[in-house]
């Protein structure tokens, strides 16, 4: 199998190139972010084929609405991953998606997501072992519910049966742990 040469440039260069609608920017964008975005989407929709469709929609939306992105709002990836998450969440809440799954009779979205949760917490889908050890279980579960499963923090509080304030604190602690780990 031939090793692909992926294009990778700095975020500033990429944003500039995307603004100028350069073709190379499209390839770079895909090569740099497709896997990370797909990781998030797959965990939300729990189906690789559907996730790849959503990834395609995500890139189309990024490309078409790129003028609405500004560096002052934050990092490029944050903007893109929120587009991807919204598209994925829209998908799992659509009638069309529910009809495709065997759990179609379940009307409650939260319950529906919960049904799928067991399969998502596969060990091979978890990150690096060290990273997992950095997070307390309650931190990890709230982070993954919100980041990878598309829960709002209100839904997560409901799901886990803990007060909203606790959810916010745990989420903040989880992300603080991540920051420590990545630093």
């Amino acid at each position: 199998m031939s090793k692909k040469r992926k294009i990778s440039i700095s975020e500033e260069e990429l944003v500039l190139a995307l603004r100028q609608r350069e073709k190379i920017a499209v390839e770079a964008l895909y090569d740099m972010y497709s896997a990370s975005l797909l990781g998030v989407i797959v965990r939300i929709v729990n189906d690789e084929a559907i996730a790849e469709d959503i990834l395609q929609d995500t890139f189309v939306k990024i490309w078409n609405s790129f003028s609405s992105y500004s560096t002052e709002k934050g990092r490029l990836f944050t903007w893109m991953v929120n587009i991807a998450r919204n598209l994925a969440i829209d998908k799992i809440r659509s009638k069309d998606f529910k009809n495709q799954t065997k759990n179609q009779e379940l009307e409650n979205n939260v319950t529906f997501i919960d049904e799928q949760r067991n399969t998502v917490y596969k060990p091979e889908l978890l990150g690096v072992k060290d990273l997992v050890e950095q997070l307390k279980p309650e931190q990890k579960s709230i982070l993954d519910l919100v980041y990878f499963k598309g829960y709002t923090h209100v839904e997560a509080a409901d799901e886990l049966g803990v007060p909203l304030g606790t959810i916010k604190t745990r989420l903040r602690m989880a992300i603080t742990q991540l920051r420590k780990y990545f630093n």
Partner: protein, 276 residues
């Protein structure tokens, strides 16, 4: 300053980064971030860690998705360029080559390879046939050599026999058959000077002996018999045979003795005798 810290601690920034805020909250966070660099820095840290977390959990899309996605984007570029699933190093190298010449060189190598293969097969066949011929030649040489050796040894033997007749010191004596075997006859060549005794198996006429008996040649020196060795006579006997040496003799005689010879001659078995 205290309220900025409290604002950061509230967890609203995390929810903002995760897109889990109301439009009002969103506007509020953005306004705060613009006013306070500490909040801006905090936001950036949260974004960075979540991006890295996503990278840790990345899933590589399938090969063909790249072309699919890029082609769907390219419609907007008004460009007919198509994207494949990644560019390999080989493809990059090929960029400068005109397709026609590449095809030609491809077929050239194909034919060259076929020609090489054909040449190899022909060479192998030729080599095998040459090897077989060489093997035949070797066998012929070997048989000729052994024949040559046989001729040489025969010539050598005959040469030796001839010296007997050429040498003046040799005396020829014809041993005549006795009453027991009147038709028998044996030629003996003797050189007293060289003490050599030879018997001629070709020109003799001795009846063939059986397995249990052998002829024994005796020399009579002053009426005393001296053993000169045993020999066999049959239809295949030929050439001359050298017997034991003796310097002086008055007569030679042959008796038929048990195989291996006897210490003294059995007189009634005397076949031929000759005197000087």
């Amino acid at each position: 300053m205290e309220d900025i810290k409290a604002y950061i601690e509230s967890g609203i920034l995390e929810l903002y980064v995760l897109g889990d805020v109301t439009p009002e909250e969103c506007a509020q966070v953005e306004a705060m971030a613009q006013k306070h660099p500490a909040i801006k820095a905090e936001l950036d840290e949260i974004e960075r860690s979540l991006q890295l977390y996503a990278e840790e959990n990345a899933i590589e899309p399938s090969e063909n998705l790249r072309g699919r996605v890029l082609n769907s984007l390219v419609v907007n570029l008004g460009d007919d360029r198509t994207f494949g699933p990644g560019r390999t190093a080989a493809e990059e190298e090929d960029d400068d080559i005109i397709p026609i010449s590449r095809a030609r060189s491809n077929t050239f190598f194909k034919y060259a390879f076929a020609a090489c293969l054909a040449l190899l097969i022909i060479s192998i066949v030729a080599l095998i046939s040459v090897y077989n011929k060489l093997q035949d030649s070797n066998n012929l040489v070997a048989s000729l050599q052994s024949q040559n050796q046989r001729f040489a040894s025969q010539a050598n033997l005959m040469d030796k026999e001839l010296t007997v007749f050429r040498d003046p010191s040799f005396k020829m004596l014809k041993l005549q058959g006795t009453s027991k075997s009147p038709s028998s006859m044996l030629m003996v060549a003797w050189s007293p000077a060289k003490k050599k005794v030879m018997i001629d198996m070709v020109h003799g006429n001795m009846p063939a002996n059986d397995k249990d008996h052998q002829y024994q040649l005796w020399a009579l020196v002053g009426n005393k018999p001296v053993d000169l060795g045993v020999f066999d006579a049959d239809s295949t006997s030929k050439g001359m045979k050298q017997m034991k040496s003796i310097a002086s003799a008055d007569a030679f005689a042959v008796t038929l003795e048990p195989r291996g010879g006897s210490a003294s001659p059995t007189m009634d078995q005397m076949m031929v005798i000759g005197k000087f």
